[in-house]
Symmetry: C2
Subunit: 226 residues, 2 copies
Amino acid sequence: MPRYPGLLFDLDGTLVDSVYQHVLAWHEAMREQGIELSVWRIHRRIGMSGGLFLDALARELGREITTEQAQRLRARHMEGFLSRAGEVQALPGACALLERLSEYGVPWAIATSGRRVTAEIGLNLLGIGPDAKVVTRDDVEHAKPDPDLFLAAAERLNIDASSCFVVGDSVWDLLAAQRARALGVGVLSGGYGREELDDAGAYRVYDDPGDLLEHLDEVGVRRRGV
Amino acid sequence: MPRYPGLLFDLDGTLVDSVYQHVLAWHEAMREQGIELSVWRIHRRIGMSGGLFLDALARELGREITTEQAQRLRARHMEGFLSRAGEVQALPGACALLERLSEYGVPWAIATSGRRVTAEIGLNLLGIGPDAKVVTRDDVEHAKPDPDLFLAAAERLNIDASSCFVVGDSVWDLLAAQRARALGVGVLSGGYGREELDDAGAYRVYDDPGDLLEHLDEVGVRRRGV
């Protein structure tokens, strides 16, 4: 194990305050298609692969979602989210946390189940330039809770995933972290409860990126060479 | 103890799928006033008294909210919620549950921390007429987690609150239930996690009103005279 772990971050709900806008964009897209699903059930599926999301939806509805319907849902969700993008902000401490890690020489990357075009909104709010290591749904075959996104992000850092921490707000992040043999750290800023994240295998749970920044010692992050 | 308990229902997140719209309406109102609070922190305060909400907000911001600012926030929240009212629906099983209770001769009432004008949206979706027993923030001195709303609702049913079940989606409902000496039943449809509701004293937790309807036997609700 290298002495300095890498940090792999989820984006929505973890670094950017965008979960509730995603939730209502999905809700709106579904209602347009005559699909009635309670908002909290959508919330609990945010962050998982879009394909699995639609499989789960089909099960809850008790009927199949056609390929055409799935495409239409995805397209309308994206439009709905982009129309709400003005409400989205970086989470407290997110920028400072990434800056601190860079200053400490601790490698970090971002791994999101979202597509590049929606992820750009968050990346811009974080002031993340083209040099940053970012893996999106477009780069891997399977999104969370499959481990592909975090494995790819660790590879970009040239660190084995088992030496990395995964920081995420959803149970899908924490399940994917376990499958990638990484340690999972939860944040409450996506709206899940602390116990849900604990139960999904979180090693620690913090309020938001700012709270994690104040407790970096607890996850063993230190300035390189100290 | 009477053999047939009364049921006291919260409204938003318990019978009506309106929590996320309330959350984003508050978020928008705050941003207009230059107040930056993460969306999940607002979510966790929904359902509590507006006054306590603003006290909690002041603490988290580390500065006072003036009376004028509080009035402006409340007014803009109400406008923002009313503008989103078209997205709001009754929760699955809510209407059927209330009908079943009426059919069984089981007394029920609604007790909401919201004002009458915003509650009307939910009451209309539920098809609740003027004869139904509904207590709103306008009728009591203190809203949840004070017990006043549930005590007043029980009084309208002429049943002691200690013989009632309170059904709610938030920890504020469950704390108010305990203070009213009523048994609390949680529902997940407001977006809290199961364990949060358990920890706040829920005697049982169901997914939503439809799930409660399917398990009425578990809370001891039966047809009057059977």
